[in-house]
């Protein structure tokens, strides 16, 4: 069974990749790309079945696919961890495939539709193969193809200025991460003399160096602050189905890599602390930036950074506890992190897809231009709400369960014998709590401003519900959100873990029961009459959307309270009638956010490099004589070298 499913999936992926490419030469009808998406769908199903079989029957599957030359071989080994991530990729991809069938048709350039589909398949399959990879070589290889295909997908609408900016950021940062990974891999290779992952030997110094570089590499890919800058540019720039994949899955591949190598290397406590605080910081700052954002896709991107932070917190706890030798809690933290990885993959892609529908309907990404959509696109509204509720970790949805597990791991800090460590953990705990509360606020804003109350623009007033397939895709994930929440305990039971978690099924039943009970009871007891009336407009005859709270108004209190983090700068211009600047004509003042990391870290570095390269350019400017002079000097130096060495 296993032997068939995996190659089968890959094969049908191959078809899915090639079909649109060649079809685009012949015809521009939508059939080929839709056919290829169907192939994608079945491929994902096959992979999913494969993964589930491995997860359930805790056995592993290995396969030496092909070797270019000896030592450069593509060899795959799917154990339980890998299978988990395979399942993750597959689940999201299924939904995205369904969604894309009609979403892709909305992209304006006809020529690019096929390319999007084809590259999307390359992207998915390379992610799958990264996860399945067993030799560091093939890991690297598919890691690069993943980066490349996603880069091309980001550049789909390359005419737009911000897409270009995104492209440049993404390209450079991706290569930086690859740089660190290659260094780490080759460094390990020089010790172990093989690319085989399992052969990594225990040697504290080597491992610490290797870990440091691996962590950097994966952190960049996962968008850990302050290495995150590419993420909020790249994710919004790409089409929404791709953003769903990137934000939902791709950054999780980095998480996979981190966990994989943590399993392989002998861990040390400082790694745990590092991961923990990297996580805490990016969680907090990520959500704070998300809260300020009006561009809904950017907001989701920042919230991805936040959730990656949460996952890293879990992993950090795992490292700390397992180094301390407290296996039970370590396992709790790890499984919590993994579960959150899965959950975030699910609800973030759900949110991105719903957002995609909304953006298509309203034609804007600014939530100030939306509003009132829940009446116009009810299903999308519900889907978005489910996503929002799960991501703000409300019971009994899945997001809550995974955060609960991490919280519980935190709450048992006292078992550690090292007080200093405990205090550190408690600080992290406080940050974590703050994060999750802010996340709730953030998504109240996202849902409330964009879906509730009055439409804030003409286009959102005339918005229409999206076609069926664009609802079914996210709906699958929405169902999973609830199911993984409700049946979490049973799920862990099936996988053979037993944690002291509350039974969500029970809680959910109670909630439903009470809801129904109260509803019925009040129908009997209370007055049933209903009346509809205008909202009181403070005496104005009619209520307009200008009276509502705006998105920036909503986040104002928190922004003001956290103004130490939101470094704003005021800009004001004044125009006068006369030249002596006496009679004031008009003026404008704006307050803009200082994009700290970009303006204080990234751009200065770039400026320095640019300056150096300009200098180098200048010393080469000149005619033949100058360069012959260089040669002359060099040769004279050679003479001296000869004299010196002889």
């Amino acid at each position: 069974m296993l032997e068939i499913l995996f190659p089968l999936g890959l094969a049908s992926f191959l078809v899915a990749i090639l079909l649109p490419l060649f079809a685009s030469k012949l015809t521009n009808s939508k059939t080929p790309r839709q056919a290829s998406l169907i192939f994608t769908f079945f491929a994902c199903i096959a992979i999913l079945a494969f993964a589930l079989e491995i997860i359930l029957s805790n056995k592993s599957f290995s396969l030496l696919a092909y070797q270019i030359v000896p030592s450069f071989q593509f060899s795959f080994l799917v154990d339980r961890l890998a299978a988990f991530f395979l399942a993750l990729v597959a689940i999201v991809s299924v939904a995205v495939a369904i969604y894309s069938v009609s979403y892709v048709e909305h992209t304006e350039h006809d020529g690019r539709k096929n390319l999007i589909v084809s590259f999307m398949n390359i992207f998915i399959v390379s992610m799958l193969l990264v996860v399945a990879s067993f030799s560091m070589f093939s890991f690297l290889f598919f890691w690069e193809t993943m980066a490349l295909s996603s880069f091309l997908l980001v550049m789909v609408e390359f005419e737009k200025k911000d897409t270009q900016k995104a492209g440049i950021f993404y390209f450079v940062m991706t290569h930086l991460s690859t740089l660190f990974l290659i260094f780490a891999f080759l460094f390990i290779y020089t010790v172990t003399k093989t690319f085989d992952m399992t052969q990594i030997r225990a040697d504290p110094i080597i491992n610490s160096v290797a870990f440091a570089f691996l962590f950097l590499g994966f952190a960049i890919k996962a968008g850990v602050i302050p290495l995150h800058k590419w993420l909020p540019y790249a994710h919004p720039a790409s089409p929404s189905n791709i953003s769903a994949l990137m934000s939902g899955v791709m950054i999780k591949i980095a998480i996979y890599g981190l966990i994989r190598f943590l399993f392989l290397l002998p861990m040390q406590t400082w790694w745990g602390i590092l991961i923990l605080f990297a996580g805490a910081v990016s969680a907090l700052i990520g959500v704070i930036y998300a809260l300020k954002e009006h561009d809904i896709k950017k907001m989701l991107a920042y919230s991805s950074i936040e959730n990656i932070g949460i996952i890293l917190i879990g992993i950090g706890l795992y490292v700390v506890f397992s180094v301390a030798g407290i296996e039970a809690i370590a396992l709790l933290a790890l499984i919590g992190a993994l579960f959150h990885t899965l959950n975030h993959a699910i609800f973030k892609s759900l949110l991105f897809m719903a957002t995609g529908s909304v953006v298509n309907a309203t034609g804007t990404r600014d939530i100030e231009g939306m509003g009132g959509l829940i009446k116009r696109m009810p299903t999308t509204g519900v889907l978005f709400l489910v996503g929002a509720v799960s991501i703000s970790a409300l019971p009994p949805f899945n997001g809550f369960v995974s955060e609960l597990m991490i919280f519980q791991a935190f709450f048992q800090t006292t078992v550690l014998s090292n007080p200093f460590l405990e205090v550190l953990l408690i600080v992290a705990l406080a940050m974590f709590a703050f994060t999750s509360a802010l996340a709730a606020a953030c998504f109240v804003k996202a849902f409330g401003i964009s879906f509730l109350a009055l439409p804030r623009s003409e286009k959102s007033k005339n918005a229409k519900e999206s076609p069926k397939l664009m609802l079914i895709g996210p709906a699958v994930l929405a169902v999973l959100c609830i199911a993984f929440g409700i049946f979490s305990l049973q799920l862990f039971g099936v996988l053979g873990f037993s944690f002291p978690l509350p039974n969500m099924l029970f809680i959910g039943a109670l909630l439903g029961g009470f809801y129904a009970f109260i509803y019925i009871a009040l129908r009997e007891v209370a007055n049933r009459r209903e009346r509809f009336a205008e909202t009181w407009g403070c005496g104005f005859p009619t209520q307009t959307f200008k009276m509502e709270y705006s998105a920036s108004g909503f986040s104002e209190p928190i922004v003001t309270i956290l103004k130490s983090i939101f470094r704003t700068q005021k800009k004001s211009e004044r125009y006068f009638y006369d030249d002596k600047n006496v009679i004031f004509k008009d003026g404008k003042a704006e307050i803009q956010l200082i994009n700290f990391f970009e303006e204080r870290i990234y751009l200065p570095v770039a400026a320095v490099i640019r300056k150096i390269s300009l200098k180098v350019n200048n010393i080469q400017r000149g005619d033949a004589d100058l360069h012959i002079a260089y040669a002359f000097v060099t040769i004279v130096v050679f003479l001296l070298i000869i004299w010196w060495f002889a």
Binding site: F142, G167, L186, T190, F645, A646
Partner: protein, 484 residues
């Protein structure tokens, strides 16, 4: 050998007599094609290594055959390409029809010169043929009637030939050294290899350094590189492709030969670090120059400098594995570069310039060139699937064994290279502006597209499939060079 000469001369004569562009072009396709065939034939059937043609002046061994394979292949494609290209440049009055003949004659002569340079066993002979390549390629560069070209060519001629004189001095040193040891001096590589270990290290070191000067100049190693970017950017696209594909590899070939001799002496570590140092220097300088470059062909030219530097590093590391992959790298690099230059040529004919500010709406006008540029960029920055990925990774691996800092430095450099290329391409291809009125699409002929396709396909095929024959060939080269 004789056949090579015969074919060459006959084709040359035919070219001289032939009138129409078409015949000349076809003839100059035939020549490299026949060379290719001959080389493959010798590779398969002849006993290698063998001397040939007049005693021990010429040697046919795997390395030379390998290099000739690459060159002949590139020349064939370049010839195929240049039909359309040259027509185009005649249309835009870059070049007048009268110089066609000169062009093709020089083209074929250059091929022959390169071939014999590779075959030459006697180093002095090699030196002379290398000089000849300079001469012919100079003609090919200056063929376009623009003063800039003359400047570039002068730069080229003066820098290379002055430096080549020094390498001749180096050769003289070797000669007297052997004379001193054997009584009768020799410059034959094979006999030098046999006695290399007996030669005095100090003088060998000096000789190596002197010869290095010239050959480095030919292969555009910093600080002798200045001619390369300007010549590459000024020359017609097929010529640029040949220059960075073959002419530079002549220089590298020379360095390899001398290094093979010198590495038998006790000076090996010194020489290795010498090479690595120069390689790194070229890479750093070239990369930093690429970072804000506004001229597409200059960018590609500097990337050639950078790659040559990397080749030197690979050579300097000097383990058999590094050498193996370094040799493969020359092939991969030559092909990728050629494809890039060809694509740039199409853009040049579309926009009459290869500078950033003149190029816009590429996808609208030249989608093919745009995609080939993208693929070429992917290949040249060593993305996986491209043939450059493997050798790069393996040479990095060997460097890691030498020292992790070297590895890290190289990685940083590659990051910058990728950045330079990526950012340039993003800016270039995503420029969307109102194009000037009356701009019409330049129809690149099929003959210009096919070579690009062939090259890219080869590059990406070699990236995932490494044929056994190539493996054996490279292995036998390494074993013949006795390095490491």
């Amino acid at each position: 050998m004789v056949i090579y000469a015969f074919v060459g001369v006959s084709v040359l004569l035919l070219t001289v007599v032939s009138k129409s562009h078409r015949t000349m072009n076809i003839l100059s396709i035939i020549l490299p094609a026949s060379y290719l065939a001959l080389t493959l034939f010798t590779l398969v059937y002849a006993a290698i290594p063998t001397y040939s043609l007049g005693g021990n002046y010429f040697l046919v061994d795997h390395l030379s055959l390998y290099e000739i394979l690459i060159s002949a292949f590139l020349f064939m494609l370049a010839a195929l390409y240049s039909r359309g290209y040259i027509e185009g440049s005649i249309e835009i009055h870059e070049m007048d029809r009268s110089s066609l003949k000169l062009f093709y004659v020089a083209f074929n002569l250059l091929l022959m010169a390169i071939t014999y340079a590779f075959f030459a066993d006697n180093l002095a002979l090699f030196w002379i043929f290398a000089e000849l390549t300079t001469a012919f390629s100079a003609v090919l560069i200056v063929i376009l009637n623009a003063p800039k070209n003359i400047g570039a060519t002068l730069k080229y001629v003066f820098i290379t030939s002055t430096c080549m004189l020094f390498s001749f001095i180096g050769l003289i040193l070797i000669f007297t050294l052997t004379e001193n040891n054997l009584g009768a001096g020799t410059l034959n590589w094979s006999s030098l290899m046999s006695i290399a270990s007996t030669l005095s290290p100090a003088i060998m070191f000096a000789a190596f350094i002197f010869t290095f000067v010239g050959f480095a100049a030919k292969s555009g190693i910093v600080p002798f590189h200045a001619w390369l970017p300007s010549a590459h950017s000024k020359a017609p696209a097929p010529v640029s492709a040949i220059l960075s594909g073959c002419v530079t590899s002549v220089g590298i070939y020379g360095i390899i030969r001398i290094y093979a001799i010198a590495s038998q002496t006790s000076e090996l570590p010194k020489i290795s670090w010498f090479l690595i140092g120069f390689g790194l220097m070229s890479m750093v300088i070239a990369t930093l120059t690429m970072l804000n470059q506004v001229n597409l062909k200059k960018l590609i030219g500097y990337s050639t400098v950078e790659n040559m530097g990397f080749l030197l590093v690979g050579l300097g590391i000097g383990t058999p594995l590094a050498l193996f992959w370094m040799l493969f790298y020359t092939l991969a690099h030559a092909f990728t570069k050629a494809s890039l230059f060809f694509s740039a040529g199409i853009l040049h004919h579309q926009y009459k310039s290869v500078r950033m500010e003149h190029i816009r709406n590429v996808f609208k006008f030249q989608p093919f060139a745009a995609w080939s540029l993208i693929l070429g960029t992917m290949a040249i920055i060593g993305m996986p699937l491209s043939a450059i990925f493997l050798p790069k990774l393996s040479i990095l691996l060997e460097s890691a064994k030498l020292s992790p800092f070297l590895l890290f430095g190289l990685l940083i450099i590659f990051l910058f290279v990728a950045g330079a290329f990526g950012i340039f391409m993003i800016k270039l291809l995503s420029k969307k502006e109102e194009d000037a009125p009356g701009v019409k699409r330049y129809e690149a002929s099929l003959g210009m597209k096919i070579p690009i396709v062939i090259l890219l396909v080869t590059v990406f095929a070699l990236g995932v499939f490494f044929p056994q024959q190539l493996n054996n060939l490279l292995n036998s080269i390494v074993s013949e060079l006795k390095i490491g």
